[in-house]
């Protein structure tokens, strides 16, 4: 429940994360005739995770377009459409399949404006169901946000609440440049209050979702919920953790993170992607080079995914990414000066 996107005076409704995204898409399709949806099985099937749902019935197959199983070509069609006047929202069935379309996303979409000296724009949105926890093993459970976060020309967001999922998608559609949205699969069924109608959540802004003074925990996507759970537990022990929902990987909200670490002097980064060269590496590095460095009174801690593909066995799968107890133990050790 990020302060930035909740407007108490605005009417809101309880929705799941998936419903909130669908609501955003419906609003966009309604408001702007140039918006189209593309993806595999997003029509009558309603999307692999039922995110597009009944939109094909409401907006027709001309605007809710089932593609063949052709990720590279499909993404490229979206890029070409964006380049010539449409605003496509392209759904990858799993973010893992974006590995097939890196050429169109990275070599084309991200660079066209620049290569063409500002004479073109590619306002495309790529939606990517992401992360582990569904028992789908190594090729259906990856977290690629660090890859895209490394690419100039892209914007990359990771909502953690239904309200942000809607607001960031609507912001992505207003953005004149390509935006990648990572949607954690385990969040799709999560419910939360969502403002009705059109609104945007700014891209590039993190949210302080819990204030505290003892330690800063920067978390992304589903890890925000684990961090909040840990923070509630820690509070019982007298440890007041400040929890920041990263929300945007590119651009990253340096100011919010730096301000928090200046205050707490301790930083823990929690993310699901592989630890090495993951989002936590960037957060750590931006603090280590910033004015907050002088305020740091302990090493920066990173809790990321294991250095392994995601395993199938459910116990191994859980062990492969940070869980609430892992956050608890690292914060406790940090606060006690054990690291």
């Amino acid at each position: 429940m990020n302060a930035q996107t909740l407007f108490p005076e605005v009417q809101q409704r309880e929705m799941s994360f998936a419903e909130a995204i669908r609501d955003a898409m419906a609003i966009a399709l309604e408001r702007d005739p140039t918006v189209i949806l593309m993806g595999e099985d997003i029509g009558v099937y309603g999307g692999a995770f039922q995110v597009t749902g009944d939109l094909i019935e409401r907006f027709g197959a001309d605007r809710v377009i089932d593609t063949p199983i052709s990720e590279l070509g499909g993404a490229g069609v979206a890029v070409g459409a964006a380049l010539t006047g449409l605003k496509p929202i392209f759904e990858f069935q799993f973010s893992d399949f974006a590995a097939l379309a890196m050429e169109q996303i990275v070599n084309q979409a991200a660079k066209l404006r620049y290569m063409l000296g500002g004479e073109a724009a590619v306002p495309v949105v790529f939606r990517m169901p992401s992360g582990s926890g569904t028992g789908a093993a190594a090729q259906h459970s990856q977290s690629f946000e660090a890859w895209f976060g490394h690419v100039p020309g892209l914007k990359v967001v990771q909502p953690s609440t239904p309200a942000d999922a809607k607001g960031l998608l609507l912001a992505a559609l207003e953005d004149p440049d390509p935006v990648i949205i990572f949607e954690h699969k385990l969040l799709y069924k999560m419910k939360g209050p969502v403002p009705l109608g059109h609104y945007t959540t700014p891209i590039g802004k993190a949210a302080v979702v819990r204030e505290g003074s003892a330690v800063t925990i920067v978390a992304s996507a589903i890890m925000v919920h684990r961090a909040l759970e840990a923070a509630a537990e820690l509070a019982k022990e007298g440890i007041e953790a400040e929890v920041i929902d990263l929300r945007s990987v590119r651009p990253i909200d340096r100011a919010t993170i730096i301000a928090s670490v200046r205050k707490t002097g301790k930083l823990v980064c929690v993310y699901e992607g592989v630890r090495t060269l993951g989002v936590g590496a960037e957060i750590s590095a931006l603090i280590a080079e910033s004015e907050a460095f002088d305020y740091l009174d302990a090493p920066i801690q990173r809790l990321g995914g294991a250095e392994a593909p995601i395993p199938y066995n459910p116990d191994l799968e859980r062990a492969a990414v940070p869980q609430t107890p892992d956050i608890l133990s690292v914060v406790r050790r940090l606060v006690r000066g054990e690291v």
């Binding site: 009558v44 099937y45 199983i69 392994a308």
Partner: protein, 335 residues
């Protein structure tokens, strides 16, 4: 006599009764395995999702009839049938689904990654089209090492629209590699009809674009598939290059566990179910005197027992140690 011979379908001319009975057993085993997996899933013994090949048994088994352990296959997310057809043990398969250390992948892969490289099964694949270039690479190895093994590459109608299909078939063709591309056209890629997603009516017609033979067969007709495969395997072993076989079939179940079947009618499903490939083969076997009704029953019962034993083995097997998350990422350093 020659005339008579011609009226007998290929399979009954070509294979020994023993081989045909083994084929029937494998088909039953696949069906019962899938049913056992489905039930285990319902009972919460299996995690994740799975893609069942019920209804496609004839295609899988007939495609593997003339393969030895040295021959390779690459399979798909809907790969249980191929796996059994190539000779896998259902106990180790169930163990894998149950996430156990005794599974084919020691519990790390699950349904979408079952493989048995030693006997030539290079694995299921979670990526649609992922196995296509890999199969070509396996065929390149055979060529380079001077072996005469062939690789059979299974893929679906949906996969035929992936760029990997095009690149793989083109390379196999220009290098005349010993690979047989078997497209199991079960009419849908998830919810998307092949008639919508594929520009051409018969996927086998795409063979023209690679100057290779292409043939569309009734994938529920064991003998038709076996005959097409026989020609293609012989061609591949003779160094004459690849072939494309389109095997028309149907999956009775939904795409995966979360499918609500909104894209197809109950009538359509029932129509296909009424033409069960296993019963069809069994009837043919009896008609050609390969076995009698009691013999068929015995084969089915025996397969049933194997599945039950497999599930027991899987249930009783140990799970991997949680501390072993990073084991198998790389080769163990030589001790």
């Amino acid at each position: 006599m020659v005339e008579n011979q011609k009226n007998i379908p290929f399979a009954f001319r070509h294979f020994t009764p023993e081989a045909l009975r083994r084929a029937l057993r494998k088909m039953h085993l696949i069906r019962l395995f899938e049913e056992g997996a489905e039930e285990s899933y319902m009972r919460g013994l299996i995690h994740g999702t799975m893609h069942l090949s019920i209804g496609q048994e004839a295609s899988a088994v007939a495609s593997c009839m003339e393969l030895t352990d040295a021959d390779k296959i690459t399979s798909t997310h809907r790969g249980h049938g191929h796996c059994i057809a190539k000779g896998a043990d259902v106990g180790r398969m169930f163990a894998e689904f149950f996430g156990k250390e005794t599974g084919y992948c020691h519990g790390r892969g699950g349904s979408m990654h079952i493989a048995d490289v030693k006997t030539g099964n290079l694995g299921a694949n979670g990526i649609v089209g992922g196995g296509l270039p890999i199969a070509v690479g396996a065929a390149l190895t055979a060529r380079r090492l001077g072996r005469d093994d062939v690789t059979v590459c299974f893929f679906g109608d949906g996969a035929n629209n992936e760029g990997a299909f095009h690149e793989a078939l083109n390379m196999a063709a220009i290098w005349k590699l010993p690979v047989i591309f078997v497209c199991e056209n079960n009419r849908y890629g998830m919810s998307t009809p092949a008639t919508y997603a594929t520009a051409v009516k018969n996927i086998a017609d795409r063979a023209v674009a690679y100057a290779m033979p292409g043939i569309t067969v009734d994938g529920n007709d064991f003998s038709a598939v076996a005959e097409a495969m026989h020609t293609a395997v012989a061609r591949a072993r003779a160094g004459e290059g690849p072939s494309l076989i389109e095997s028309l079939t149907y999956r009775w179940r939904g795409h995966s566990k979360s499918d609500r079947n909104r894209y197809r009618s109950k009538d359509e499903i029932e129509d296909w179910m009424s033409r069960d490939p296993i019963m069809r083969f069994r009837t043919d076997l009896i008609a050609h005197g390969v076995l009698d009704a009691a013999g068929a029953e015995a084969i089915e019962a025996e397969a049933k027992a194997a599945v039950a034993a497999g599930i027991d083995f899987a249930r009783e097997s140990p799970s991997p140690a949680i501390t072993d998350v990073t084991k198998f990422v790389h080769a163990e350093a030589a001790a």
